[in-house]
Subunit: 180 residues, 2 copies
């Protein structure tokens, strides 16, 4: 096919001020002990792309300013609202009133992402997605405070997806459902 790549201008991206003032996607992202600052940065970049409301960095998760976050976030730490919370349990208790809390984790109660329907969940204003540590996944304490566990089905030899990819797939899927 003949097609012309869009220029930066044609992409019509927002500047930071316009981003902050636009209506956001009703999704909050919680990072539960993410070890790699490169993953934190990539999750900032994806959250910016889908205009999420807020990123909550918890526990050992690295926070800006940080060289490796900057490397993969390429500026999204300035556009995205974020805050740091040492104690994830206190955070989730405070989010519970307005958020349906979803842990992205492979458990005995998990619902596969494609089978999870927004209509069946409690109707709250916002969705809170929790992604967890690269080795240990979402912590037991965060799972215990979640409303549902969601699992991305997998058919390969590895036990999990990279957390940036897992977050990207989940954010995409919920963005799509909120906008269709």
């Amino acid at each position: 096919m003949e097609a012309k790549k869009k220029s930066l201008e044609e992409l019509e991206r927002l500047d930071v001020e316009a981003f902050k003032n636009q209506e956001k996607t009703a999704i909050n992202l919680v990072l539960d002990d993410i070890r790699s600052a490169l993953n934190v940065g990539a999750l900032f970049r994806t959250s910016d792309a889908f205009a999420l409301k807020h990123i909550y960095l918890c526990g050992i998760t690295a926070k800006p300013p940080h060289k490796e976050i900057t490397k993969t976030a390429i500026g999204a730490t300035h556009s995205m609202d974020w805050s740091y919370h040492e104690n994830i349990e206190e955070l989730l208790e405070s989010l519970r009133e307005s958020n349906t809390i979803l842990a992205i984790e492979q458990t005995d109660k998990s619902i596969e992402l494609q089978d999870f329907h927004l209509e069946t969940m409690h109707q709250k204003q916002e969705i809170c997605l929790i992604v967890g540590n690269e080795v240990h996944g979402v912590s037991e304490k965060a799972i215990s405070l979640s409303d549902y566990c969601i699992e991305i089905p997998q058919f390969g030899t590895k036990h999990s997806l990279n957390v940036s990819v897992c977050g990207g797939i989940t954010i995409w899927e919920f963005w799509k459902r909120l906008n269709s």
Copy 2:
């Protein structure tokens, strides 16, 4: 909620031999001049998770064995079938007969991912997804040999998603459509 994380045994992942013998998802992935070996590894890991057929590494894309690919692929270079092709045009010409070729790129002819329907495309046996360079995206020559351009809609300040995340979202979306 009360939920127990699945153990490695409970995840029931395949060993490499069983993976190679299982029926694959009818998707091939083409990496067009991917600069970062970490991204190559992450794309191997995602391709393993969704049991894609083949990864084609083209141009300057790093190939196994490579320390940084190993770091993020964590073994998926052994399970996934892959091959290296210096010339992407020759490769795409050879794939054209059995593949609908989709470039994941923001162009003036792009269809947004959520609006692209499998039924409307030529019915070929397999889908070939092309993801491109971290800065320049999919090359003009690869776009010219594609049947469609697909774009992931974005609402932030950055001009694009990380290529591993972009590949993950696209692979997930096509896996889901082929399996629903």
